[in-house]
Amino acid sequence: MTSVMIVDDSVMMRSVIAEIVQADPDFNVVGRAGNGCEALEKLRASDCDIVLLDIEMPRMDGLEALRHLRLISKAKVIVVSSSAHAGSRTAVEARREGAFAVIPKPSGTVSLDLGQKKGHEILEACRKAAGLSGNA
């Protein structure tokens, strides 16, 4: 079972993303955090395999978290952010800091249609990051 942590400042997005991930029995959401600091704290306490990371968050944003968590966590990071559109500097920056994949949210920060529009892509990225083959 691959453990996943979801980091997003919106409770709604956290549950939307959790729903997407948990549709695949290979994944288990083990933690949620509302900002980078919280995510780092949780990762220090118990590591996980994949972190789904938002970029724009209070206290510590996703890019900063990405830079820091690589010192303490083996987790592969998949960025899910409204500011990470194709070719955006955020997307590029996230990749530079070692994000495994970067997936844009379709309707802004709180994209309730994430599941419909990007659910498949997110799962695919998670499976790839976890070294799992085939589709969910």
């Binding site: 409770v11 709604m12 549950s15 509302g34 780092l40 010192l71 194709a86 070719g87 802004g108």
Partner: protein, 1050 residues
């Protein structure tokens, strides 16, 4: 504009933080007063959440003082929550100090709009409290590895280890310092030690590039590489960076015993070095000092030029296929997948690209290809051309390492990429009439902005969305809303909001509300529904309007500025509709949410003051009443005058002119009296309407209270293995804000009672021919000036016989008497304290407290309870409550020169005692009234805890009753009856027994409002402390069942 946003941000902060603090304070006071009892997980969670929210808000505004204080308090509460320490009176006291300090900081910070440092004294006490919790948890991080023997020496290495050791040694102290001071550094608490570590690895790090070169064959080179790896690893281990340790371990494991790395090991080493390079970059960035990263880049660049160039060419080769087989580049095509993989590989592999401008461009390429592979954008010829050109630019000169391109050129290329990508994105929507029709686009955007849409939100839309939106809105089919949602407020609300959005509109885009702590989000929503539907939908989700606020783009913009420092704001509809009190029955529509979307935030005090002035006006009105109706002489005057004229005529001799004058006087007086009456009637009705309208300022939909019930019912039913469908219907009924809390408890108990006792198990229901899923409905309605709340279930109903037996068992009623009671009277017995018909005591009910709580709660609100039941068919419990608990009908009395207000609903009668009616029985003054003994106290004596005989026996006595008990209060003077607006008072005052609240008279005098229930308790305590005496028969005169709950209407 920016300034306005800033101002409202501070105001929001002031209000929100104030609300949190106001909520925390009474809870803490309660704990301090009576520790242990009643401290449950919920209470602790509430406190914790409150502190957490304050901390978050303070952090958002960079108010470090507040953040520090609340951070510590939150930490303490976290320890309590996790069971590591007890929230005793001492800690509650400390937390109250925290609240006081936070109040001070909030007030000052809001005034100067800047951080105010926290009191060092309090910080020291908080740190000490934390410290005392943490003793026993000693042992710094990484202490265990500090003593490990080290095999290798060397200057850089030794320094690294020494630095790290020092850090580990200082770990505990550093941690404490960091915790006590600013937020601990995200990378490492001991910044100094981290800096020394980074500096120590600097001379060692570049040597790692040798790992992937041919020179690794040489023994001294291998030793140098090993040493470098050890230095980096040991430091990382001591400082606590497990991933750095892991990366260096991977590299160490790849080190050959002799010779250079073989192909596969080398590939892995290249990867691991890229990882290590990023890790070092974090450390470098955190300390601001050079850890040898750049030097490593250069060395790696030299060592890996061939590898880089080979991959770059491979990628170019793949892209060349686009010329003749573009299909392979469509979504999921083989060529595009291969190209994406190669592009990613190049960047991820080559550590030296990390900080290079070339690296950024390579990433741009990878990102663009990746999106094309997923079908997010179309790989246009322009895009592919740009990619190929860029890759060609990024070729190293033959035999030389890659020379990074200068930032200006890379920025140029990046901009070109962005332009091409935008095109590629809009090419995704072929067939739309918007292709490059920029004029339409600009006009549409302008149109939406004129409607009031926030430009920044529109910028988040793509062209297609923008055009569609402008078209939909201008065509009148749809409306555009900007909805701001504080989604963290309550998860269930957020959930319902999400569902609502899905059903009723389309969220075009969303963003974090700028400037606000990012827990608030703005949505741009397109909906076909009308304003009323949207607003009532949102009000249904968030009745108090704390989480959601909405603005329709296109609604008239009535701006409301609130220049006052907002103390305690409540939201009110701008135009208060003269609410017609309708019989909300059957129609099912009731009063809908206010149509206007204009919400004003008004300081609560303004509203309170407004209400108390209105209260005063009502009083003046009644004085006028007295003047108009009460003055018999004036109203009789015309008639008297006419009689006089008649008599003077009959006696003769009077001057006719005088008689005529008298007659005219009578007519004028008549007219004057009529005018007065008319004016008085007009005033009375206007005042009434004004009062109703003013009360609207304090009302919230009753759904606010109902909202929690369905969830509760579901959970409860599930735990009993029962199935229940909950129907909640507030019918637009609104109740006073002050009633919300008081009403919740009774409702919860009623729902519990219904599920515990009323609703049967599914199989029982099936056997009885009922649907397996029971229905529990909670409905509100309004009859005249009463709120009626009905909790109905279709369960087994109340068992009158079981209730009778239990009541007899409990001694609540005599056996013989009980048999004479009608069923409806028997039902009322369940409201008695200690009554329970459950055969088993369950977790939630059956302790015999439930319905008693309902009774007390409803009583306190001045309401009544009615119970109906049909065996086998269900039960209905009906509460009838006054519309407002904030306006109280009171009797003002004067005792010892102080004014007190006694709620009229406790008032039974006013009397005066003749000396022979008063006796002293066993130290207690009693009075014989209607054949039974009434204990009599002097009001002030009862409140002050004194006692003894009464000063004078001819003074008025106010007789109070709560249905069970009666008591007499001697006062000096009964002033008048009047309606008062009750204010919330400080919990410390509220804790004084006998005082239920305070009100302000028009002249600014404060009146304490007596809490009737408290008073009875005080009297009982007093009687108990008096030596043996016969129990006064206080209930004989009241009703069959001790008068429980009868005749309670105010």
């Amino acid at each position: 504009m920016a300034v306005d946003i800033y101002q409202s941000l501070w105001q929001e902060f002031a209000v929100e933080a104030g609300e949190h603090l106001d909520r925390l304070e009474p809870l803490l006071v309660g704990i301090e007063a009576g520790p242990a009892a009643g401290i449950d997980a919920t209470l602790v969670a509430t406190l914790f959440r409150g502190m957490h929210s304050i901390k978050g808000m303070a952090a958002a505004l960079t108010l470090r003082g507040m953040e520090r204080v609340s951070h510590h308090a939150e930490h303490l509460l976290g320890e309590v929550r996790d069971g590591r320490c007890v929230l005793d009176a001492a800690m509650a006291g400390l937390l109250l100090e925290v609240v006081d300090e936070l109040k001070r900081l909030r007030e000052q910070s809001v005034r100067i709009r800047a951080d105010v440092p926290a009191s060092e004294g309090l910080m020291a006490r908080l740190t000490a409290a934390r410290g005392s919790l943490e003793t026993g948890k000693s042992g710094g991080p990484g202490a265990k590895s500090a003593g490990e023997p080290l095999e290798f020496g060397g200057a850089g290495f030794g320094a690294a280890v020494a630095a790290a050791k020092e850090a580990a040694g200082k770990g505990a102290a550093a941690k404490a310092a960091a915790d006590g001071g600013a937020e601990s550094h995200p990378v490492h608490p001991d910044h100094a030690a981290l800096g020394r570590y980074v500096e120590a690895i600097r001379p060692r790090l570049p040597a790692l590039a040798k790992m992937v070169g041919a020179e690794l064959e040489a023994v001294p080179v291998r030793a140098t590489v090993r040493l470098a790896l050890e230095a980096v690893r040991e430091g990382a281990r001591l400082l606590g960076f497990p991933e750095v340790v892991r990366t260096t371990e991977t590299l160490s494991a790849l080190m050959p015993l002799e010779g250079a790395l073989d192909y596969y090991a080398r590939e892995q080493a290249i990867d691991a070095l890229a990882v290590l390079r990023r890790e070092v970059a974090t450390l470098e960035a955190a300390t601001g000092s050079d850890g040898g990263g750049q030097e490593l880049d250069a060395a790696l660049n030299a060592a890996l030029t061939t590898d880089y160039n080979a991959r770059r060419r491979a990628l170019l080769d793949v892209l060349a296929r686009h010329d003749h087989e573009p299909k392979a580049f469509a979504k999921g095509g083989t060529a595009i997948l291969r190209a994406t993989a190669l592009a990613g590989d190049i960047y991820n592999h080559f550590a030296f690209l990390y900080n290079a401008n070339a690296g950024r461009l390579l990433l741009m390429i990878e990102d663009a290809l990746g999106h094309a592979a997923r079908g997010d954008l179309v790989l246009t010829p322009e895009l592919i051309g740009l990619v190929r050109k860029t890759l060609t630019d990024l070729a190293p000169a033959s035999g030389k390492p890659l020379r990074d391109i200068d930032p200006a050129r890379s920025a140029e290329t990046l901009a070109a990429f962005e332009a091409v990508l935008r095109q590629a994105e809009s090419a995704l929507f072929p067939g739309q009439s918007i292709e490059e029709d920029d004029e339409t686009l600009v006009a549409g955007r302008q149109y939406l902005i004129e409607l009031g849409a926030t430009p920044a939100m529109l910028d988040l839309l793509n062209k297609k969305q923008l055009c569609e939106t402008a078209e939909a809105v201008s065509g009148g089919r749809h409306r555009l809303w900007e909805i701001t949602a504080a989604l963290e407020e309550a998860e269930d609300k957020a959930e319902r909001f999400a569902i609502w959005l899905e059903k009723h509109g389309r969220a075009l885009t969303s963003r974090a509300t700028p400037g606000v702590s990012a827990l608030s989000f703005q949505f741009l929503v397109l909906t076909a529904e009308d304003d009323t539907a949207v607003l009532s939908g949102l009000a249904g989700i968030d009745p108090e309007g704390r989480m959601l606020s909405a603005r329709r783009c296109g609604a008239a913009l009535a701006t409301a500025s609130a220049p006052l420092p907002v103390e305690h704001a409540i939201k009110v509809p701008v135009a208060v509709p003269a609410q017609v009190l309708t019989e909300a029955h059957g129609a099912g529509q009731g009063a809908a949410a206010p149509v206007s979307s204009n919400i004003l935030r008004v300081p609560g005090e303004v509203v309170d003051h407004f209400l108390s002035v209105i209260g005063e006006m009502v009083m003046v009105g009644s004085m006028l009443d007295d003047a108009v109706w009460g003055d018999d002489h004036r109203s009789r005057l015309p008639a008297d005058l006419r009689r006089l004229v008649k008599e003077m005529r009959s006696h003769g001799g009077a001057d006719p002119a005088h008689l005529e004058a008298l007659n005219r006087l009578a007519v004028v007086q008549d007219q004057r009296n009529r005018d007065l009456r008319k004016a008085r009637e007009g005033l009375a009705s206007t005042l009434g309407r004004l009062q109703d309208a003013a009360l609207e300022l304090r009302v919230v939909p009753v759904e606010t209270v109902f909202a929690r019930l369905p969830r509760l019912a579901r959970d409860l039913a599930a735990s009993h293995g029962k199935q229940v469908r909950v129907e909640v219907d507030g019918r637009g009924v609104r109740i006073d804000k002050g009633m919300v809390d008081q009403l919740l408890d009774p409702l919860i108990h009623m729902v519990r009672n219904a599920i515990d006792h009323g609703i049967e198990l599914p199989e029982e229901r099936a056997a009885a021919g009922k649907a397996a899923v029971a229905t529990l409905s909670v409905r509100a309605g309004q009859r005249e000036n009463r709120v009626v709340i009905e909790v109905a279930d279709d369960g087994r109903g109340l068992d009158a016989e079981a209730i009778r037996r239990r009541a007899v068992e409990r001694g609540l009623v005599g056996d013989a008497t009980s048999r004479l009671l009608r069923d409806s009277d028997l039902y009322r017995l369940i409201l008695a304290p200690g009554f329970s018909t459950a055969d088993t005591v369950t977790e939630t009910s059956g302790r015999g407290v439930g319905m008693d709580v309902v009774h007390t709660g409803v009583n306190r609100l001045g309401g009544t309870i009615d119970i109906q039941s049909e065996p086998g068919r269900g039960a209905v419990i009906t509460l009838r409550l006054p519309l407002s608990a904030a306006i109280q009908d009171v009797l003002l009395v004067d005792v010892d020169g102080r004014l007190h207000a006694i709620p009229v609903r406790h008032l039974l009668e006013l009397t005066r005692a003749k000396p022979d009616q008063i006796q002293l029985v066993h130290g207690q003054t009693v009075m014989l009234l209607h054949g039974s003994l009434l204990p009599v106290f002097r009001l002030t004596a009862l409140l002050d805890g004194g006692g003894g005989p009464l000063p004078g026996s001819e003074l008025p006595i106010v007789v109070l009753g709560d249905g069970r008990r009666r008591l007499g209060l001697q006062v000096d003077r009964v002033v008048r009856r009047q309606e008062l607006f009750v204010r919330d008072i400080h919990p410390r005052v509220a804790a004084i027994p006998g005082i239920g609240g305070a009100a302000l008279l028009g002249d600014g005098k404060v009146v304490l409002i007596i809490d009737g229930a408290d008073l009875f308790q005080l009297a009982e305590d007093r009687e108990r402390s008096v030596p043996v005496r016969p129990a006064p028969r206080v209930s004989a005169a009241r009703g069959r069942l001790g008068g429980r709950g009868h005749g309670k209407s105010p």
